[in-house]
């Protein structure tokens, strides 16, 4: 098999002797079958035994070896070293983001698990179900399908590490936590769905920006951002009157009335009195000739749009 020397540039920090983190470079012979984890093992065994990283199953199941590889968080065991080196010219390996650093490629995942826990990721069964344990409480195939993808989460932390919102918002519980909430809200055996939904605003439901990093980096295709959208629908339909929910409602009302986004009205309906904070900016926009008018003429054939709204409403009623 063809082998080639590739540079691995690895983040290093030993709290016992380093004041600052630094990067070490290692030349490793890699072939097309090797994962980044294989290469890290080679470095550890042949070049520097002090290199520290987590790993266990080597099969993309346990989720231990999540780390940043060329700036994106991935499982090292599922990432082919040659793909990375041919794309980026080197393999840059760094610890996960959004969690405190312990040593080299190891971070304290307690912060991630604490956030997952805020979503109460366990089944809250009702008394009746628990009183008769002689009978199994099985789900139908259809019921399993609605939550099986979400149950595939292995809690590796890739989504949390690359979550751009979490960098700025420590109250945002993050993609994995919210995906777990949907997994239990969708489970007919769970009796805490309403309570779970009513707590969503507290855990930062409206902090997600839809940057889609959680979707692209999840090794199990859980697509947490889809789950977050689903929760926003549920929250809005369950009496959520926070700014986020008001924004969704105002946005949809705007499309129904004009077919387009009436930015001025959506802004005012979302912000209410908070809109005062942007008065000077709005005046400058008006001066530049780009302040959106609150009066927007409906698009041609707006009746078609309104009929589609009607059809969906009828479908829901049924």
């Amino acid at each position: 098999m063809k082998k080639a020397k590739t540079t691995f540039r690895i983040f290093r920090f030993n709290p016992e002797k380093d004041k600052q983190p630094h990067y070490d470079e290692f030349a490793v012979e890699i072939d097309s079958m090797m994962s980044v984890l294989d290469a890290l093992e080679d470095i550890k065994h042949e070049q520097d035994a002090s290199l520290t990283f987590r790993r266990s199953c080597r099969s993309g199941i346990c989720g231990s070896c999540a780390m940043k590889i060329n700036h994106l968080t991935k499982l090292a065991c599922k990432t082919r070293a040659t793909t990375e080196s041919s794309k980026h010219g080197e393999v840059l390996v760094e610890p996960m983001g959004n969690m405190p650093l312990i040593r080299d490629l190891i971070v304290d995942m307690g912060e991630f698990w604490k956030e997952v826990d805020r979503g109460k990721p366990w089944l809250v069964a009702d008394e009746k179900m628990l009183s008769d344990l002689s009978r199994e409480n099985l789900l139908t195939k259809e019921q399993i399908q609605t939550s099986s993808k979400l149950a595939d989460c292995i809690m590796c932390g890739c989504c949390f590490s690359d979550c751009f919102s979490r960098v700025y918002d420590k109250n945002f519980s993050g993609p994995a936590s919210l995906a777990k909430v949907v997994r239990f809200v969708n489970d007919p055996r769970d009796r805490a769905a309403n309570k779970r939904i009513s707590k969503l605003v507290e855990v930062g439901l409206w902090s997600c920006t839809h940057c889609y990093f959680c979707w692209s980096q999840c090794p199990k295709e859980v697509r947490p951002v889809e789950a977050i959208s689903a929760l926003r629908t549920l929250s809005s339909d369950s009496g959520d009157v926070s700014q986020g929910a008001r924004h969704v409602k105002a946005f949809s009302d705007s499309i129904r009335s004009t077919g387009m986004l009436n930015e001025a009205m959506v802004y005012l309906n979302t912000m209410r009195f908070d809109a005062l904070r942007d008065v000077s900016l709005i005046l400058r926009m008006a001066y530049k000739g780009k302040a959106p008018s609150p009066f927007r003429r409906p698009i041609p054939k707006i009746d078609e749009v309104r009929l589609l709204y009607q059809i969906v409403k009828e479908g829901k009623a049924r």
Partner: protein, 289 residues
């Protein structure tokens, strides 16, 4: 080259300079745009949160309108592109959703056949128009101007919906900046979020996101930034002064819409490109254009 043109809401209200500069470059390049005037808003990922099926229906209606014209759709907004691309993905993957959608569209006498393609201008220039062809129209090359690309999340992710290039190492904007005579400047935030989706509901966080993107570009030596997304432009240009205040730093980095950058290289007048509508002055960087 002819497209069913979907300019999106922002280009027709808070960013009129994008609408006008796109019309100007299409004219120069000989690209024919038939505007879908009866199309509705793409929903910007927000309508999907009100009702996902309604979001599919509204976009499928737009697709059906383009199919009636036998034209592919051209977008000039990363968000429109991402949302419409994702609805198309859902309809392509899910036969049951496809037929349920067409049942509803039948009531407004439309049908979505699944044939239309949705392309952002950035992709169309590379894939359909060709960079060589574009290069031959450049009359005022950017003279090595240092330009920071800023893609907008939806143009890159999710890969299943965007799919034009590798989101881990995007290069389309860099290639086009080079073709126009500029020097692309990588700054590490080209694929990040501008903060716009939470600008209303998490204002300070959004401003800190945009300021980090701008500061990084500036530190990397960029003289201006270019974005193919008018929502990013709102965050990065319109709200830049507020972002400066929030980050307690001076930034002053002009941000151009992608169509404007092409327009500069094609020799189109600054007045037509609408630079006077920018909050951060462009004239300092492009004085003689």
């Amino acid at each position: 080259m002819k497209y069913a043109y979907f300019p999106g809401c922002v280009a027709k209200s808070a960013a009129p300079e994008l609408y006008n500069s796109t019309a100007a470059i299409a004219d120069k390049l000989g690209i024919e745009l038939t505007e879908l005037t009866a199309a509705s808003c793409c929903g910007a990922g927000v309508q999907d949160e009100q009702n996902p099926f309604l979001n599919v229906l509204l976009n499928a209606r737009t697709f059906a309108q383009a199919e009636e014209l036998h034209l592919d759709i051209l977008t000039i907004c990363s968000t429109c592109q991402g949302v419409m691309g994702d609805v198309k993905r859902q309809l392509d993957e899910d036969a049951e959703l496809f037929s349920r959608t067409n049942e509803a569209l039948d009531r407004i006498h439309l049908q979505y056949k699944g044939k239309v393609k949705v392309k952002h201008l950035v992709w169309a220039l590379i894939e359909d128009y060709g960079v060589k062809n574009l290069e031959s129209h450049v009359v005022k090359p950017l003279n090595g101007l240092k330009v920071a690309p800023f893609y907008g999340c939806y143009l890159l992710r999710p890969v299943e919906a965007a799919g034009f290039e590798d989101h881990a190492k995007p290069s389309s904007l860099e290639n086009l900046i080079t073709v126009l005579g500029g020097e692309p400047v990588r700054h590490g935030h080209e694929d990040k979020c501008c903060g716009f989706p939470i600008l209303f509901v998490r204002h300070k966080n959004a401003l800190r996101m945009s300021s980090d993107c701008l500061v990084n570009a500036k530190k990397s030596g960029a003289q201006l930034m270019v974005t193919p997304c008018p929502l990013c432009h709102l965050s990065l240009d319109t709200f830049q002064k507020k972002a400066e205040k929030e980050a307690r730093t001076h930034i002053e980095l002009p941000v151009l819409h992608f169509s404007q950058l092409v327009g500069v290289a094609l020799g189109i007048e600054p007045k037509t490109l609408g630079f006077s509508k920018h909050m951060v002055s462009v004239e300092k960087i492009l004085p003689h254009q």
